[in-house]
């Protein structure tokens, strides 16, 4: 849990350093690769980036127009180190065990990084999702589960039908009592 939360935070910092545009692919430049290598190697101290996070970042680095500079890479790595150090320094074993102030501080680091290039970080508490958007509202990162629900749920329809059937039976009973039904 602690590893995954840290990975999410760090991945947000990674994406924060670049500007995005939906256009042709351009590949990954040397500074982008340096960034990828940096957070891949950040697996020490109990924190790690899972492949789902790394892949999303790689895909967006491939976009044409997404060309991180050496200076941006240095800034992101600095934010990354700050977040990792802060989290490690709390001694926390999970995000939930952080105090409100600690959570706020950690999120502040993430949002500061995102604001550099106009990205917005959203944490949906109800669904426990981290999402990163461009200024145009384009989703560029999500911490959503990999395997989705891809089946139909007929439960609401079944419940509705059962209720309607009960009402129909009640109507028949009422009709009998009223003497409407005669043999």
């Amino acid at each position: 849990m602690i590893k995954r939360i840290a990975a999410i935070i760090m991945s947000v910092l990674m994406i924060s350093a670049v500007a995005f545009s939906a256009s042709a692919a351009s590949g990954i430049n040397t500074d982008e690769q340096r960034l990828i290598d940096a957070y891949k190697s950040a697996n020490a101290n109990g924190y790690y980036f899972d492949e789902y996070t790394i892949n999303q970042i790689e895909i967006y680095f491939m976009r044409d127009g997404v060309d991180i500079t050496a200076d941006q890479a240095d800034q992101v790595i600095a934010y990354l180190n700050e977040a990792v150090s802060y989290f490690a320094g709390t001694g926390a074993t999970s995000l939930q065990s952080l105090s409100t102030e600690q959570k706020q501080h950690l999120l502040e680091i993430v949002r500061n990084g995102a604001a550099v290039v106009g990205l917005t970080v959203n944490y949906d508490a109800a669904n426990k999702l981290f999402q990163v958007y461009t200024a145009d509202g384009e989703l560029v990162y999500s911490s959503a589960v990999v395997i989705k629900t891809t089946g139909a749920d007929y439960t609401p329809a079944i419940i509705t039908f059962a209720v309607v059937l009960m009402i129909a039976c009640a109507a028949v009973v009422a009709a009998k009592k009223k003497g409407l039904m005669q043999r």
């Binding site: 939906a22 256009s23 042709a24 692919a25 351009s26 590949g27 492949e51 789902y52 996070t53 790394i54 892949n55 999303q56 895909i59 967006y60 491939m62 976009r63 044409d64 949906d124 109800a126 669904n127 999702l129 999402q131 509202g137 384009e138 989703l139 560029v140 999500s142 959503a144 589960v145 990999v146 395997i147 989705k148 629900t149 891809t150 089946g151 139909a152 749920d153 007929y154 439960t155 609401p156 079944i158 509705t160 209720v163 309607v164 009402i167 129909a168 009640a170 109507a171 028949v172 009422a174 009709a175 009998k176 409407l180 039904m181 005669q182």
Partner: protein
């Protein structure tokens, strides 16, 4: 002139009223009453319950777009490679390709990003997996009661085709498997080779939510590498 009804006709009318009209009327009125009164209460309750019993993705309500050009993809790219500058990386919620499996009559638009909206309009690719031609895993899902319903009849050796604007890619099915939705051994998105993974909910005829998924694995057979 008065119209007189026989006792038998009156009897039939009363039976019609009792057995047909009143139940139907009660049903309609009852449903309207429930809908009007309880919808504001039930809807948030169902939404909250979904957080606990569903592993569904957050419905962010994004709009779907399309960059897929059927005419552009009509001719197969016979070359072994395609330049990266010819490839447009789709944004989340974009229809960028078409997926077809002739053996089981599947022909569906393919979206990048597996939101609920995308899954309602076609089959959808997990945005943490790569595009065809990039030499990395591709993870695609579809609903078991719509676009991927006939996936249950797929066999090893069947061919899957993904048609993009920059090339046509073919994959051959090597295995099918049933696994839990949270079984991470069912897929490997860190692999450094291109393979296709399709999945949908299992069993196919279930009425409610299910924790199992039907996985289909396929290896790349042909299609230009993006360089």
């Amino acid at each position: 002139m008065k119209i007189h009804f026989s006792s038998n006709q009156k009897h039939n009318f009363k039976n019609l009223l009792a057995y047909i009209c009143m139940p139907v009327g009660f049903c309609v009125l009852g449903y309207l009453l429930i809908y009007i009164v309880f919808t504001p209460i039930i809807t948030p309750v169902l939404s909250v319950s979904e957080m606990f019993i569903s592993d569904a993705d957050f419905k962010n309500g994004e709009n779907l777009t399309s960059i897929f050009d059927k005419n552009s993809a009509s001719s197969e790219n016979t070359g072994d490679t395609v330049d990266m500058s010819q490839v447009q990386i789709p944004s989340y919620g974009t229809h960028y390709a078409n997926l077809s499996i002739d053996s089981v009559s599947i022909d569906a638009p393919l979206y990048f990003g597996d939101s609920s909206a995308a899954l309602s309009q076609g089959v959808a690719q997990y945005n943490g997996s790569f595009l065809p031609g990039f030499g990395r895993p591709i993870l695609i899902s579809g609903h078991n009661n719509s676009y991927f319903n006939s996936l249950q009849y797929i066999s090893v050796g069947d061919e899957i085709t993904i048609t993009t604007n920059y090339g046509v890619y073919k994959y051959k099915v090597t295995e099918t498997k049933i696994a839990a939705y949270n079984d991470k051994t069912a897929y490997d998105l860190a692999a450094q080779e291109e393979n296709l993974i399709l999945y949908t909910c299992y069993p196919f005829d279930t009425l409610g939510l299910t924790p199992q998924r039907f996985f289909v694995y396929a290896d790349k057979v042909s299609g230009p590498d993006v360089v």
